[in-house]
Symmetry: C2
Subunit: 289 residues, 2 copies
């Protein structure tokens, strides 16, 4: 990390729940819930605050959150830490898979933090966690709230989703005139106790192969090469955030989507989407608004 940070990367995001194995496939409570920690005061946050301040770097830190103020509820959460070391706020995963080995609703449910956008020193960012990348509406809401860069910290395996990986976040960048950063871990994690996956197959001790392949996609449809499928990596990308507005002004997708006339001619389900579109920016004071 010190080496990585010394490269002066102003924004940095780990993969999902980066401090623990992806243990939800086991459906075991213990010891996995012991990884849960406070978003504001947990050891991971404290650690990242020091790094962020030391390297003048915004950090997106995905953790298993224990909400100590509200009955020790668990959440899948990304903490956003300012380059000053302050906790800018947090964003909770809002689409929870019940797919194959993803037994995540055993541990936490859909988040209650809406589609927050964080004003950082390096741009307005949002975090669309993991499974949320499959939902175009989800990306849209972060974009509608003003995000210029949407991070997508993930932990996903080859057989399930690798064929979709190059398409979804890239399409979201195109559709929403913003940058997207899908991030995935690498390797296979072995668990002591065998578990089944609801797919008729025999019990096993691993979840599958996490295929890495993190990349950055731009509003014009271009993208970086992916990181390795097999090794940890650090992707350094220079993003010209002007491209968000430039692409918006070239294409005007939002004009077409949100014009009143357009809305009037659509099923009523459509009409509520853009009536109070506004940019919600979170203040840069280390206190969640």
């Amino acid at each position: 990390m010190d080496h990585q940070a010394s490269l002066a990367c102003p924004k940095f995001s780990y993969d999902i729940l980066s401090a623990m194995p992806f243990a939800f496939c086991t459906r075991e409570r213990l010891p996995w819930t012991e990884f849960a920690e406070s978003a504001e005061n947990g050891v991971t946050t404290k650690f990242c605050q020091e790094l962020a301040k030391k390297y003048n770097m915004v950090i997106v830190s995905p953790i298993l959150e224990r909400d100590e103020l509200h009955g020790e509820t668990l959440w899948n959460t990304a903490v956003v830490i300012s380059n000053t070391g302050a906790v800018l706020g947090k964003s909770r995963k809002n689409h929870i898979p019940r797919v194959g080995d993803f037994n995540e609703s055993t541990y936490y449910m859909e988040g209650n933090t809406g589609h927050r956008v964080f004003q950082t020193a390096y741009g307005k960012i949002a975090v669309n966690i993991c499974y949320g990348r499959h939902h175009p509406l989800n990306w849209l809401m972060y974009s509608t709230n003003g995000a210029e860069i949407i991070f997508n910290p993930s932990a996903t395996v080859g057989e399930l989703s690798e064929s979709l990986w190059p398409i979804e976040a890239r399409n979201a960048a195109i559709a929403n005139h913003c940058f997207t950063c899908p991030i995935n871990r690498v390797g296979t994690e072995h668990f002591e106790n065998e578990f089944t996956s609801g797919d008729g197959k025999e019990a096993h001790n691993d979840f599958g192969y996490f295929y890495g392949s993190s990349y950055v996609a731009a509003p014009d449809g271009s993208r970086t090469p992916g990181l390795s499928r097999v090794c940890d990596g650090l992707l350094i990308a220079e993003m010209d955030l002007n491209l968000c507005r430039q692409t918006n002004d070239k294409w005007n997708f939002k004009v077409s989507t949100s014009s009143n006339k357009n809305m009037q001619n659509r099923p009523h389900k459509y009409q509520h989407f853009f009536t109070d579109n506004h940019v919600r920016v979170y203040s840069h004071i280390g206190v969640e608004v």
Copy 2:
């Protein structure tokens, strides 16, 4: 066409406004508006009805529509013709570009037919016309209304959109558990009178190069090779419509998107989307419902 139909293709779609050049770039009224014709009784519809019946084939026929019953209003419309030769109904383009050379709102405005889905002998189909492919919500609405195959008849040129073409419809197939068929014409069309494009460049006589590259994408993220960039072509694809439900049942994106708990936790803008989700099927009687 006879040769094409003899291949026993049960569903067939032309590119957008297939009977005329893409003349909207000129902003000239005449002679282009003379191509407009009735969706129900126009010569193109009559021609396609004969073909559809002769070859037991459903045809999606995009035309410049003249709504003779309502003040000769013009629309960008796709007529859906049953394999029996009946006009099943029509779907009007609902996102109208005002981009560069696309001066389409000079001629017609956003359609008023919502997101119709047509029950045909070969599956439930919808038509997301041209520019509508850039809008994930648009695909979603057709899918939510029950479409198993969504056609996207287009006329789009290289410099503007070719980098986006392989991504958007493919993502729509993934996100909505359905098949998508983006279709584009080929070649360059020359106009007698020069026109400008609102881009600071000199007046010119063509709109750009239509890059073809039509393809079919499946719910599992796979796709066919594209047709040629330079020649007319016919793409024959066998689609197992069971894959729509199979993929839905594997991934369950819609469970995650539409669960009540999920909605309650979201900004109110989200909540109206799925409250009366139902399949609207149009009867197979040759009369638009």
